[in-house]
Symmetry: C2
Subunit: 144 residues, 2 copies
Amino acid sequence: MLSKKCKYAIHALVYLAERYQQGPVHIQEIAERQHIPKKFLEAILLELRNAKVLNSKKGKGGGYYLFKKPEDVNLIEIIRLMDGAIAMLPCVSLNYYEPCEECRDEKTCGIRDSFLGVRDETLKILRESTLAKIVKREKALSKK
Amino acid sequence: MLSKKCKYAIHALVYLAERYQQGPVHIQEIAERQHIPKKFLEAILLELRNAKVLNSKKGKGGGYYLFKKPEDVNLIEIIRLMDGAIAMLPCVSLNYYEPCEECRDEKTCGIRDSFLGVRDETLKILRESTLAKIVKREKALSKK
DNA sequence: TTTAATGTCTATTAAATCTATAGACTTATT
DNA sequence: AATAAGTCTATAGATTTAATAGACATTAAA
């Protein structure tokens, strides 16, 4: 399961994607509208800023805004930043690889293959899930 | 990521699947061979027993053995028993469904779809990953 | 029938992680 | 100068995970 932090991040980013190129939005507003504890959200947005997904403007009239284009931010990137590995086992993780302690020999491990498959399929879907597509989908669904 | 408990369970079950219908194997042996803390393993095997995946024999010469057929135990079942939901969001979970707190309206949520897709692909692969197949794969790999 | 080997069960502890909050500091605008 | 923002460090509380301890129950064999 994704952590709350990660879910908060996704919701905040979608919110900002809907307001792309409309100037900075302040934390308070995002927190209220998305029901996210403000202080927690602060830490999240800061991380996303340091990762250059967001940018911010300080001082009066300041706030956060999407730095990358909505079509260039996908769920893989967000999840990795917030929760770390996407794979279900460390030994099949691309970005957070670690040998499995429990495994005596990775090469002859019959378990890995399944999780390699899961990882690949998961990445395939999450890679295609950009903020742009999510916003588009949201609009399409609410028009029905 | 899967918990250690879950990884231990998978390894223990594979070990027992390799010895299917060869009589009970005692905890001590599984613990030693798979490098699992014995007391922790006890709790795990007990849960698997209560779920009728394993069965046990008490007393001298006792131990655990696979109750279901190796081809009838897949990774979905094991993961659900040990770690709970497989989906990345509660709102797309089949067995552990809960509405997302962060979501104002599930019907118009543009995020769900992606995770629904991930869940379906994940289940598809894990459903096919039975103990029988894992053991078979293991043997094939070690012959190379 | 005793003994030893084994699983069963309840409780507890230690460590790690997740979630949330507090408060002082910095920067930009008016 | 005053005010409205974000930045940063620290920490507290809650929850979950991992591991351990010890008393109890059952079975088989001696």
